[in-house]
């Protein structure tokens, strides 16, 4: 907690890594003691399987183009386990296909953020001096922007496809990764083993890749999982406001928006996608917390 403001959690990330600080890692022996890790990881694997594999194995009704004759069926209807929405599309199918969008965006955005942001952060720390200060000020500017606003504006400009959402959210995600990577790299850059590598004539990129990166990787991965929760929320928020995946294309955000229209008559249409979204975010947050406890990551 003693970190000074310039090193502390980035303001654009609502859930700073700090909050995940649990009591120091308990006994590490036995699977019972790893349940904090296995449960959220298991939930995520199940969700991923359900979204990407289940529709291939088991024939689901299509997520769009349902018949109006089947409109507004309640939960548990034959053939439509979770019922149908007001135009007759199967909710279960829309949830799973919508989940694909969420997870694809999540993996793509955090992948881009990790690689590009990590590179910028490590490079800034490695070059130090004026280059580092300049890069950090530019990142300050990007981070000072409310994330949802910058994402909405970019998606508004680019269009409403999945790839456009990915680029818009990557713009939000890269600076935060760069900041974490830089603060991690600054912490190790003057440690003896890095200095020794440098003095022994190791090239800059080699020092960074072989000595600095492995040391900050746990921190970056924990942050990536934590940020993944935020990306899922942002993607849903963008779609909810109608800037994301355009209806009738399925996404959790626009399912919730559609549920909002009929919430007084059919609250299930609002509640079901909200619960799935919440479960996903909780799983990502608890996983990140467990990883932190395990690797003893400091902010």
């Amino acid at each position: 907690m003693a970190a000074l403001p310039s090193e502390a959690a980035t303001p654009s990330v609502p859930i700073a890594a700090a909050v995940m600080a649990e009591e120091p890692a308990r006994s590490r022996r036995g699977w019972v003691h790893s349940l904090d890790l296995y449960i959220p990881a298991g939930v995520l694997v199940l969700l991923l399987l359900a979204c990407f594999v289940w529709p291939l194995v088991y024939k689901l009704p299509p997520p769009v183009g349902g018949s109006i004759l089947d409109a507004s069926l309640p939960l548990g209807s034959p053939g439509h386990i979770l019922g149908t929405d007001s135009v007759g599309n199967d909710i279960m199918s829309r949830l799973l296909y919508g989940g694909r969008v969420s997870f694809e965006v999540m993996f793509a955005v955090q992948g881009i953020g990790l690689v590009v942001g990590g590179f910028i952060g490590v490079a800034a720390a490695s070059f130090s001096g004026l280059a580092e200060a300049t890069v950090m000020r530019v990142l300050d500017v990007l981070i000072a922007f409310p994330a949802i606003v910058i994402a909405l504006a970019i998606v508004d400009g680019l269009g409403a496809g999945e790839a456009d959402i990915i680029w818009a959210l990557a713009v939000v995600s890269i600076p935060t990764f760069a900041r974490v990577a830089r603060s991690g790299a600054v912490r190790v850059r003057d440690q003896t083993f890095v200095v020794a590598a440098r003095l022994s004539g190791s090239k800059r990129w080699r020092t960074n890749l072989r000595h600095v990166l492995p040391n900050i990787l746990p921190q970056l991965i924990t942050f990536a999982v934590l940020g993944a929760a935020i990306v899922v929320i942002l993607e849903a928020t963008i779609s909810f406001f109608g800037y994301g995946i355009p209806p009738p294309g399925p996404s959790w955000g626009n399912m919730i928006a559609a549920g909002q229209q009929v919430m007084s008559n059919e609250p299930a249409l609002l509640l079901v996608p909200s619960i799935v979204l919440l479960v996903t975010v909780v799983a990502l947050n608890t996983l990140s917390e467990a990883l932190r406890a395990r690797w003893g990551v400091v902010r």
């Binding site: 403001p5 700073a16 009591e23 000072a144 606003v149 979204l277």
Partner: protein, 351 residues
């Protein structure tokens, strides 16, 4: 970074016979808190400029312009062209930005392209609503999170602690717009206790105003409270486990609750306030979402409308205010940090 700190530290040595003003200034210049604040302000200037420039670039890159957005799809190219000339949209981007910047430095934020209303006026009308929302939700958030964190840290692993840990994880994970809708469903549709939409001005009726603000404020406050309970609890526990002063206090025979509230909490407060200040930007981002959901006419709502209408002066003005508030919050945090903990003031203030 440290080179930009130009406030002289080794100012003229103090002579008792020198005039009052100079002595005062010398004292001020050598005060570490003031130096810290000055350094922060100097760093903030380029950041604030960068934020406005970036938003100007962003608005310029968006396809379509204000003229066609205002006239709608049925406008003829000639009409669009005429309006563009009237709104100076045909001028080069950098020139427009330059005019805007010069205006801002003279205290003139320009006029909204949408209706010609001055941006300063729009901010004056809508900013108070957003600020009220931020203040109310911050109060709720602090009232929930601080006592709860102290109670949890008193008996870690106890019943209250476990319940709080589970609930706080749930609340910090729930997206704002989902929580807002759930509140509307429960308190406006099923129980009809609070209105789902609408806003009553504070001057019309304070009671109605607070009624309208309750759900929006809770929507912002509860997820943040979940976040801060965990933050503060974890830090309190760390203090209680590892710090020498806690051992001393225990050896004196002080009770756990006394040590927590009088010793550990004071130490945790420093980090707590820092994170609180850093997250002010997030708080404002949440108001954009919440105002949209509850139909509150704050500046977040104006911002989304402005982006939709390609209203560059309005968007830049609002972004400038956001950035200014964030910079101000961070400044206050830094200064408070130094005020609370003298070690920081004298020691590593350079960071």
């Amino acid at each position: 970074m440290s080179a930009s700190a130009v406030v002289p530290t080794s100012a003229a040595p103090e002579h008792p016979q020198e005039d009052e003003g100079l002595r005062w200034r010398t004292a001020l210049a050598s005060s570490p808190t003031v130096r810290l604040a000055g350094r922060r302000i100097l760093i903030a200037i380029p950041v604030m400029w960068g934020v406005t420039f970036l938003s100007a670039i962003l608005m310029n890159l968006l396809p379509g312009d204000a003229a066609s957005a205002l006239l709608g799809a049925n406008a003829t190219p000639l009409e669009v062209h005429q309006l563009s000339i009237k709104l100076h949209l045909n001028e080069p981007f950098l020139l427009r930005y330059w005019h805007w910047l010069v205006g801002v430095l003279h205290g003139n934020l320009g006029a909204s392209l949408q209706n010609g209303q001055s941006v300063g006026q729009i901010l004056g009308q809508h900013l108070p609503i957003t600020l009220e929302l931020v203040v109310l939700s911050s109060i709720v958030m602090l009232v929930i999170s601080v006592p709860l964190a102290l109670l949890c840290a008193r008996r870690p692993g106890g019943i209250l602690d476990r319940i709080t840990m589970v609930l706080s994880m749930g609340f910090l994970s729930v997206p704002q717009f989902v929580l807002g809708l759930l509140f509307v469903l429960v308190f406006a549709v099923i129980w009809r206790v609070f209105p789902a939409l609408g806003y009553t001005s504070i001057t019309q009726s304070l009671g109605e105003n607070l009624r309208d603000m309750t759900l929006p404020a809770l929507t912002i406050a509860l997820p943040s409270a979940g976040f801060y309970v965990r933050l503060l609890r974890a830090d309190l526990l760390e203090q209680m486990q590892s710090e020498d002063y806690v051992v001393t206090a225990r050896a004196k025979g002080l009770g756990t609750w006394h040590i927590l509230t009088r010793h550990a909490f004071r130490n945790s407060l420093i980090g707590f306030i820092t994170i609180l200040g850093l997250n002010v930007a997030t708080l404002f981002a949440y108001t954009v979402i919440v105002e949209e959901i509850f139909g509150l006419p704050g500046i977040g709502y104006q911002l989304l409308t402005g982006i939709g209408n390609r209203d560059a002066p309005l968007v830049q003005g609002i972004v400038l205010v956001f950035a200014g508030v964030v910079v101000l919050a961070n400044l206050i945090t830094d200064v408070l940090y130094g005020v609370i903990d003298p070690r920081i003031r004298y020691g590593r203030a350079a960071l």
